[in-house]
Amino acid sequence: MSEATRIEENVTCLGCGCACDDIAVVIAGARIREARNACTLGVRWFGDGSLPGAISGGRSAAIEDVLREIASLLRSARAPLVYLAPDLTCEAQGAAIAIADQLRAFVDGVTSSTSADGILAAQRRGRASATLGEIRNRADVVVFWAVDPAASYPRFQSRYAPNPVGVYLPQGRRDRTVIAVDVGAQRGPADADVRIQMTAEEEQLFLASLRASLAGRALGNQSIAARVTELATRLNKARYSVVVTDAESPPSVPSGRADSLIALTQSLNATTRCSLCSLRAGGNRNGADTVLTWHTGFPMAVDFSRGAPRYTPGNAAGARLAHGDCDAALIVGNTNAIPTVVREALGATRIVVIGPRASESTLSAQIRIDTGVAGIHESGMSLRLDDIPLPVRAVLPTPRDTASLLDALGSAIAAQGASA
């Protein structure tokens, strides 16, 4: 190796929602050579850090002209969509939301396609939760409900639970009971201490029976009752239990799961302490929900068309696009992470993409501007899956900073006058 290498310590990885902030990124010659401490997902997240830096599709290559062109494209739309794809800093997300407000657009992101059930359930019921640091230091019973973090959240177990030593768990893993709940093919961790299995069809009844059992009522048949009693007893005896579930649910997961798990974990606090931990995927997804919430009061699917936020998760981006209700789209972030339903529904809509690898996007966008990836090329804030804000730092230069570019776009839109 001829190039000088440098090491950036304590880098936050947004490969999944765990947001591990202990990555040592080894850089040589403007390329990432290694992401120490990172899991396989993290290694893939950092990659080699290379990015295209193109601006394409505009009538002119000058950024000011392109922004003016985008501004007039968006301003001419009757019902524009601003879409928050992953891999953005909170700052960039905020700037995109400001544009949506300015345009009286509809703003949405991946959340409404992947995690809406859990968010809506938590809006209806609230939730009993704990941050990962509490879980790490306090949870003596850890239930993995139909999720094995090893695949999608590889360091969850080693960093948060059940493996680490905690203030109240001096012997780490040995002080904890791990319960794997297998729902059909969705299995919990292989090395669990207790395994409770059910078919996908049984899940709702099982959850209902569990809640009924905690309320002192028996429900369901004998075979379920035995499994329910075992889990109920363990949860009741726990000092501080946590139920871990994957909030990035595939469409096959029944919408009642999130709701039932919230009700279950809340009600357990009558006698002991219990929290629900909802895992989120990478790219600062939780950040998008939270930033949108402080801007508008709603975490997803916000319609500014009437001049003030309206909440329409029942008519989210996918549905609107499918109905042909959007006549232009500004997509910000990594288009590869856009859910298929939305991607397909985008169809013939006029599209502008601003984000990392925009120029390589398979979407048929009219204008594309390459920017950087949050936490690799761009600095700012991100939110871990448990709402803990973490700094993300640029370890490599960005082609252009997304947040600044969006601010400039906002100014370009403003310069063309107030929206109709």
Binding site: A77, R78, A79, P80, L103, R104, A105, I119, L120, Q123, R124, R125, Q204, L205, L207, A208, S209, L210, R211, A212, A215, R217, L219, G220, G256, D259, S260, A263, F304, S305, R306, G307, Y311, T312, P313, G314, G324, D325, D327, S419, A420
Partner: protein, 272 residues
């Protein structure tokens, strides 16, 4: 001041138009010109009501709307009184958050009819879409009062999280009355799957067949006195086809949802 105000659609609508401004109580204070200046929403563009509808009449809280209105959304939103008659079908969100007055629809209604309704009457001669009488997204309570009378069928999640009030329909899709807190859902036909899950104190009545959810348990077969009262009241006020054999009939009572407080019920008609 006119007896009624009539709005007649000038040209067919080809895409959704937001019409939250059309509310009978509000029209009582407005001249024809003022009504014409109200804002409808085409995307983020506002369109004058008078450009979309021909307006006859003023200062009345009785309103008739004529034309194919299947794309007209939000009619009667937050309406507090007065009366709207819709000659054909209407779009989504009709009567959303209404607290008084009556909206009568000769055709079908879209999704979210009477969502978060608090009072008044929403009568639909045809069918209604999903979430009739249900809750605003993320809200803990669905309709808190009033009546939704649908002579045809309704879609999914009808009356979900209902707190008070009555929803009557000929048939329902999945998930009727999920997480009901109280109130009544009366289905003249069969009850769809997943009905009443999470029900606390609500009553779901089916004159047709019921697939009893696993979290409900059979209690007894009896003549529930409140059912006679409810059905007679509905029959008298809405000229619904409810037979004496239903009014005074024997019903099987199932208690649930037992995963919750278990004080709700599904009543399934059996015989006279």
């Amino acid at each position: 001041m006119s007896e009624r105000i009539t709005l007649t659609l000038r040209a067919a609508l080809i895409r959704p138009l937001g019409a939250e401004c059309i509310s009978a109580d509000r029209f009582a204070d407005l001249s024809e010109q003022e009504i014409g200046a109200l804002e409808l929403w085409d995307g983020h563009a506002s369109v004058a009501l008078g450009d979309v509808f021909a307006i006859r009449g003023d200062h009345s809280s009785s309103v008739t709307i004529e034309g194919d209105l299947a794309h007209l959304d939000g009619v009667g939103t937050a309406m507090r009184g007065g009366e709207i008659a819709i000659a054909g079908s209407v779009g989504g969100g009709v009567g959303a958050r209404m607290s008084g007055g009556a909206i009568r629809i000769a055709g079908n209604a879209g999704d979210d009819a009477g969502i978060a309704m608090a009072g008044g009457l929403l009568a639909i001669a045809g069918s209604a879409g999903d979430r009739a009488g249900a809750a605003l997204p993320g809200a803990s309570k669905g309709m808190t009062g009033g009546e939704i009378i649908v002579r045809g069928g309704v879609g999914r999640d009808a009356g979900s999280r209902m707190r008070r009030g009555t929803l009557f329909c000929a048939s329902v899709g999945e998930g009727a009355g999920t997480a009901m807190i109280a109130g009544n859902i009366i289905v003249a036909g069969d009850l769809g799957d997943g009905a009443g899950l999470g029900n606390k104190r609500g009553s779901i009545l089916a004159l047709g067949n019921v697939r009893v959810p696993p979290t409900y348990a059979y209690a007894c077969t009896y003549r529930p006195p409140h059912v006679s009262l409810m059905l007679l009241s509905l029959r008298a006020r809405h000229e619904l086809l409810v037979n004496d054999e239903h009014v005074h009939g024997l019903y099987q009572r199932y208690s649930g949802d037992l995963a919750d407080i278990g004080k709700g019920e599904i009543l399934e008609w059996r015989s006279m």
